[in-house]
């Protein structure tokens, strides 16, 4: 025992002797004005733009309050306060930390719910921090990039078929409130199980109850094993909402640098723009259109540019971004929606009319586009989904026309019938992603006219039955399809045969 005691004392002595007090020159300032999450500081003459500041509040010295310098004026500095600004008083000391705002990153954040500063919110204890990454970072340049070529399967039939998303793409999800925007993103996250994709869900200004529900759902689906949630709730100050997407992106960049694929969801960027507007107006920056500041475009473009597909020499990782924008009464031509539409590589437009007709997810095939994703589609999917987008758009137009009840020719009728079945296939329950092979199978059945004898109201029953049947009796066909990601004539014949065999056992088919 005495040995251990001596050892401890020896160690302690060594530690204390080895401790060299360091006296460093620090620049300090004083708070001259504080309120609404904003502080005006005098002094700190050599502060950098977006440098981290530390407020030393005299009352409470345990928990540090950080800030970011955003306005460097002639004789004062405007800063946003990340945290409880009520604890800061006039005259408090402010220290410059000589570093741009950083967040802790590492494998430790996976499976956790953190705030934008990387502090845990889920009560599961401290987070293993590997390193710190700056929140603001210039996006990878042309040399480091590569075009999108690998698919990112969302498991949602309507999206994977006609608006495919590739790894490294930025695809906007846009629509009114309560129409299933987040649901699409959550389904996409759930479908990444076993795909070697890390997911980061950034909740910006969301109700905490909604986020709690999402986390519970992700946990239930086993998706929290590869997902991290960055939460800046509706009750958090605007400054935290403003930094949240950048923090999430920095966490994603850690995995990108390791050569991994990441899916990041920003839910939602309209609230982010509103938070930035609040900060800008409080900092007395001049307002522009819809009272947003002049640099609101840059706010989103610098964030979304960080989504990328790196070439093999640079690790080959990717960040796929799914920003979400909420429109007001379907107004896509408002300021923020048009900005983000022009920044992203396409958008998924959710239509309220479709939603209330019961077509869920209510993806509008006409207004939704994916500018780069089609090059990332698998060959098998390309073969079946090639003409489907056109067909879906044509159907919508014909359906409107057919409402007049005039007599239609045979060709148009056939198109309408096909379209109805297509729309029926695109209907899908929440939290039930469909695997790629199953998607190929059902689309194959549709484009080859095998569904024409199935009544429209029986389509979903037919579909689930087909998946089960194929899983049991056509496992070798599915396996071949999955391995090749393509089908030739021979495999196509086998698939047709299997579907016909399955149909033979059904009773509800339309007799010709």
């Amino acid at each position: 025992m005495s040995n251990t005691k001596d050892f401890i004392i020896e160690q302690l002595k060594q530690q204390i002797e080895g401790f060299k007090p360091s006296i460093e020159e620090r620049t300090i300032g004083r708070v001259i004005e504080v309120g609404d999450g904003i502080a005006k500081i005098e002094g700190i003459s050599d502060v950098m733009m977006s440098e981290m500041l530390e407020f030393t509040s005299s009352g409470n010295s345990e928990k540090k309050i950080y800030g970011i310098a955003l306005n460097l004026e002639e004789d004062k500095v405007g800063a946003i306060i990340l945290g409880d600004f009520c604890k800061i008083k006039q005259g408090d000391e402010v220290k410059c930390l000589n570093k741009i705002l950083q967040v802790p990153v590492g494998n430790g954040i996976i499976g956790r719910v953190v705030n934008p500063l990387g502090e845990p919110l889920d009560g599961k204890g401290e987070i293993d921090i590997e390193k710190y990454y700056p929140m603001e970072k210039i996006a990878p340049g042309v040399i480091a990039r590569e075009s999108v070529k690998q698919p990112l399967q969302t498991g949602i039939k309507a999206i994977d078929a006609i608006i495919p998303i590739g790894r490294g793409q930025r695809e906007l999800i846009i629509g009114d409130r309560q129409i299933g925007k987040s649901a699409i993103a959550i389904d996409a996250i759930i479908n990444q199980k076993g795909q070697n994709v890390k997911c980061i869900y950034v909740a910006i200004g969301q109700k905490e109850s909604k986020v709690a529900g999402i986390v519970a759902k992700l946990e239930q689906a086993g998706a929290m094993e590869y997902t991290a949630v960055v939460l800046a709730g509706a009750s958090d100050p605007a400054s935290l909402l403003y930094v949240a997407p950048y923090a999430g992106c920095a966490m994603a960049e850690y995995f990108l640098d390791k050569g991994e694929d990441v899916l990041i969801v920003y839910d939602d960027l309209s609230k982010h723009a509103v938070a930035y507007r609040e900060i800008s107006l409080l900092l007395k920056r001049p307002p522009g259109r819809e009272a947003y500041p002049g640099d609101v475009f840059y706010l989103h473009s610098k964030l979304l540019e960080r989504a990328c597909k790196l070439s093999a020499e640079y690790g080959g990782g990717s960040i796929t971004a799914l920003p979400i924008i909420e429109t007001q009464a379907g107004d896509m031509s408002a300021y923020i929606p048009t900005n983000v539409i022009s920044i992203t590589d396409g958008q998924i437009y959710l239509m309220p009319e479709l939603f209330y007709q019961g077509v869920r997810p209510s993806v509008d095939a006409g207004l939704s586009v994916s500018r780069v994703g089609s090059s990332a589609q698998t060959k098998a999917m390309k073969k079946v989904a090639g003409k489907m987008k056109l067909e879906a758009a044509q159907f919508r137009e014909l359906a409107a026309f057919a409402q007049f009840g005039s007599e239609l020719d045979k060709d148009t009728l056939a198109k309408l019938e096909r379209g109805k079945r297509l729309q029926e296939i695109f209907k899908q329950d929440q939290y039930s992603p469909v695997s790629t092979v199953n998607q190929v199978l059902i689309f194959f059945a549709l484009v080859n006219g095998l569904l024409d004898t199935v009544p429209v109201d029986k389509i979903s029953e037919f579909e689930t039955g087909l998946y089960k049947y194929a899983n049991n009796l056509g496992a070798d066909i599915l396996k071949e399809l999955e391995e090749k990601n393509d089908f030739d004539e021979e495999l196509g014949k086998k698939m047709r045969k299997m579907i016909e065999d399955y149909k033979d056992g059904l009773e509800y088919l339309i007799k010709e």
Partner: protein, 133 residues
Amino acid sequence: MKITAKQYAQYLYQIVSDKENDQIKDVIEKFAIALKNNNDLVKANQIIKQFIEIWNFEKKIVEAEIISAKELDINIKKVLIDYIKELSKANEIIIKEKIDQNLLGGVIIKYGDKVLNGSLRNNLTEMRSRMIK
């Protein structure tokens, strides 16, 4: 356009900097009249404050504050003043002294918006935080 207190102070510095003492009285009188005519006499206090700042900056005079746990003796003070001169590259140092027993030992030097914390208390807190790590 409104003239700010800082601008007034700058003008004042420019007109007095190359004048002799007997001329200055004249200049200042004119300056005061100009202030009155512009209805800016209320800014006088601010102008004086700004003027001192500009003067100190141009003449390289630094106001420094030394906080220590107990009264410093003259030799140490001289060493400290030389040290601050070297750090701030100033010609002249105006010293303000303050005693704060909470420091336990050592000194804190403040000048401009810079702080050098060499107090025993600070070292002890730093040591504590490192040991916790």
